[in-house]
């Protein structure tokens, strides 16, 4: 009996609002432990929450981008469980009336594009962070930093629509791109800005029911999500194929050892005792707010990618990479507006520009400040006109990243003269023909592949400053003028 996996994801997206979800404390990171706290986020007696409108706004943006239904009236609820990093021993979240419901995220897979259906997106608060155990004298102690307590989170829940770990990874990559595009989250899984739990079950292929599921936690990177789910599918498959039964449980994935460990079994499942939080009024999103947010919503990355494919005839892959973030896309559009060749621009941005960003740890904005679109367009025009030989083009590109000036200025500053005219190159071409009678004979005998060797020799003589295409043309012309020796 063939088994198929069914996977649903629960993603937590940490919002980059200035203030926390229910108080005015800064929500940023890196401060000394327990310095970004107040009576509200510490859950001190008598303190009361007040909802941060900017966080609700971010939730609405994501909801609209995903095509969710945004409720006009939603409800904050309390979810109870005792844990030292949870100041009130309940979390303010949303339960039976979440802010956003339905919707889907379109994801490009190798097999084509698929829209993965969502259940909901709701708003909640983060917990503090525990550090344990440590030694204090002869005692073991745990410490808690409450700076993170109360930072706004969105919880996004998908329907059980994934069948492979790779689909989940692609979904998360796309989600990460979207939250960055909407400027609502850093989206970095390693930093906990994007977190993911997975519900995994197996069922006989072709059936529609759902098997007993397990919940995977601690999937701290996109690679971790893929490997953790792969491991859990394999584990469940082995259990089922040997006639065993899956126990409902929560599992922790250990990425270092690629292992799963049981965190709690079903008997220890929590009763969260949800009920509407009486400290917070109903969350009302009036129509005007919704419409205004909809108008402010930027063109979405998949819409942008489709447009790039269509307008510039770019391959889907190129379009998707260029639409990875908004700055990159803007940069490309600006360069194109200056008359660049689409594929040349796309190639250089996708490879060389991204390499510079990665090597230098730059944001796209830093690049655009150093190399504004006009500079890049001028450079690309020279490349397209074959005025810069390959190795030299890369060299000039590197200078651009560090220095001001157009291509001519850079060449001059570095004492490079591009030998692109026939007058410069003809003597070199002729010398190479004289010095290599063997290959010349072979060429003239019809073995045209030898031409490449001769081009290389000319390039060498020019010190790499000739344009290969020009050299090739000159060689062909010179050789054609030579009578074949008997």
């Amino acid at each position: 009996m063939a088994l198929e996996a069914v996977i649903g994801l629960e993603c937590h997206i940490q919002l980059t609002t200035r203030a926390k979800m229910f108080c005015g404390c800064p929500a940023g990171f890196g401060a000394a432990p327990n310095t970004q706290v107040c009576p509200v986020c510490l859950g001190l007696p008598g303190a009361l929450p007040r909802a941060n409108r900017a966080a609700i706004d971010a939730a609405i943006r994501l909801g609209l981008a995903l095509g969710c239904t945004v409720r006009e009236t939603s409800v904050f609820a309390r979810k109870h469980y005792f844990y030292p990093d949870m100041p009130k021993n309940y979390q303010i979240t949303q339960y039976d009336r979440p802010l956003c419901e339905g919707g889907a995220l379109p994801v490009r897979l190798e097999s084509g594009e698929r829209a993965f259906a969502l259940t909901r997106v709701h708003v909640e608060e983060d917990t503090g962070k525990s550090f344990h155990p440590e030694r204090l004298g002869d005692r073991r102690v745990s410490r808690v930093d409450f700076n993170r307590a109360g930072v706004p989170l969105l919880e996004l829940v998908t329907q059980p629509v994934f069948h492979e770990a790779a689909e989940c990874a692609a979904f998360l990559t796309t989600l990460r791109r979207l939250v960055r595009w909407l400027e609502i989250s850093g989206g970095d899984m390693e930093k906990g800005q994007l977190r993911c739990d997975a519900n995994v079950s197996l069922r006989p292929a072709g059936t529609t029911g759902l098997g007993t599921k397990t919940e995977l936690k601690n999937l701290n990177s996109i690679r971790g999500v893929e490997r953790g789910i792969t491991a859990e599918i394999a584990r469940q498959r082995a259990v089922l194929e040997s006639g065993g039964r899956i126990e409902q449980a929560t599992l922790l994935y250990d990425a270092d050892h690629d292992k799963l460990a049981v965190m709690r079994s079903k008997e220890h499942a929590h009763d969260y005792r949800y009920f509407p939080d009486p400290d917070l009024p109903l969350l009302q999103v009036e129509k005007a707010w919704l419409e205004e947010t909809r108008e402010r919503l930027p063109k979405l990355p998949w819409e942008v990618a489709a447009g790039l494919e269509q307008r510039f005839g770019l391959p889907a892959y190129d379009a998707a990479v260029l639409a990875e973030d908004r700055e990159r896309w803007r940069h490309f559009e600006d360069v194109m507006a200056l008359g660049a060749d689409a594929k040349t621009a796309s190639n250089w941005i996708m490879t060389e520009v991204l390499r510079v960003l990665k090597e230098r740890g730059w944001e796209m904005a830093a690049w655009s400040a150093q190399v504004p679109p006009a500079r890049l367009a001028e450079f690309l025009a020279r490349v397209a006109a074959r005025e810069l030989p390959g190795p030299l083009a890369k060299q000039v590109f590197a200078w651009m990243a560090d220095e001001p000036g157009d291509v001519a200025a850079l060449l001059e500053r570095h004492g490079v003269r591009v030998q692109s005219s026939s007058e410069d190159l003809v003597p070199l071409v002729r010398a190479v023909i004289e010095e290599n009678p063997g290959p010349v004979t072979q060429y003239l005998a019809g073995k045209t592949a030898t031409l490449g060797f001769l081009v290389g020799q000319v390039m060498k003589k020019s010190g790499g400053q000739a344009v290969p295409q020009t050299v090739r043309e000159l060689l062909e012309r010179e050789l054609a003028n030579r009578p074949a020796k008997a």
């Binding site: 008598g46 303190a47 009361l48 005792f82 030292p84 009130k88 808690v144 005792r273 009486p278 400290d279």
Partner: protein, 497 residues
Amino acid sequence: MSRDGLWNSSAAALAERVRAGTVEVDAAVESGWEGPAAAWEEEVHAIVHHDRAARAAGAAAAAALTTLSNEPLAGVPVVVKDNLCTVDYPTTCASRILKGYRAPYDATVIRRLRAAGAVVTGKGNMDEFAMGSSTEFSCYGPTRNPHDLRCVPGGSSGGPAAAVAYGLAPLGLGSDTGGSVRQPAAFCGVFGLKPTYGRLSRYGLVAFGSSLDQVGLFARHAGDVAIAYGALAGPDPYDATTRLGPAPDVSGWESGVKGLRFGWPDNLWRAGVEAEVVAGLEEAAAALERAGAERVRFEFLPGEYAVATYYLVATAEASSNLARFDGVRYGARHDDSPDVRSLYVRTRSEGFGVEVQRRILLGTYALSAGYYDAYYLTAQRARTRIRREYEEAFRRCDFMLLPVAPTLPFRLGEKTEDPLAMYLSDIFTIGVNLAGIPGLSVPMGRSSSGLPRAVQLLAPEDGEPVLLRAGRALEVRGKVARLPRAYEAEVAWPSKR
């Protein structure tokens, strides 16, 4: 100067003298401690935290206000219930679990008190976490009724009620979740206002039942209630449940009740209410009629299920609100725990008293999976109906006259072993909290046995002006010897037994 005549004057008169510069703030505050407290506090035990240095600092801060000569409560000492956060005194909710806890911030109502020139003169005793009707469930021991030391002062705000009654201060702040201001006010013979839900900020009031809790006021004079309400009421950005827009204007509290209709649902006290309480109601109704109000008789059943509804909603919310007291971050902690779970269990088992544990268990049960619909959700539906029944009643009248409690003050120990009897003593007060409307407890003289009698006035949302007009009318017209006939007159104090 002599401090005679300071402690027993009204807040209004005291503030007037401070504003005029004829009385120092410190003298105004200390007068209550030197006179009546010296005589009464040891036996009554109304105050659980007080501190001469803190009072002096509070008085100095008030005296330093540049606006003091305009402040409505200039120099007025106020007794504050121990569940309102104050930076200058511990805030413990009379619970072992908060022993020694000092809040790092002032509750909004405390900030407004101080801004209005008032001084916190001490923290009043209470039933632990405001759960109780007698101030017997306090980790500091009970408060006694200054009118009869064998009797309870009512609860849960028994401390502030008793302190205002014996003259420590002209004003007190309590909290009212199901009658915890009105019932002790009745038992101690002072005015007690439970405002409309959302009119006084709850920020800094340690929560019991968040959707029912409201900060309330104690005073010996209707006019002082009006002044304090004017200084404290209004929206607070720190409490999302406060009502938007300015609070109703209560400055017309002396304008009388001529032409107003008051509801007389005497079906409520045909059975189960003491004759002395009914006599007080009759006297009040007669006084209101003499003052020009019209009595409207009708049957009123404010939800036969009000008590059940109240104890489901209040305990459910309490079980959640009290989850934060776990020994991890503040308050008492059981330190010999091998792991965090036993730290929770031991801290909470030892830190909470029996009544609080009873209510946490009830509330936890009501919210449990599988029971939520049957209990909490059903209670919420019942609550909506109860609210509607009050709305119906107020279509026929401007305010209603009701008992506060079915009995006169009862003896210490009389009900502590019978929680249900204690819960049922709230039957006339809890509806107001479920409906979110205001209620005022008004003293109506003494019973034949010398105990305070009282009546309760109810009004629709934002009906505080009507309540205070009617309360004032009873203060002037009530055939009650110990009530002042003129506002500034000296109050006759209970004699020692």
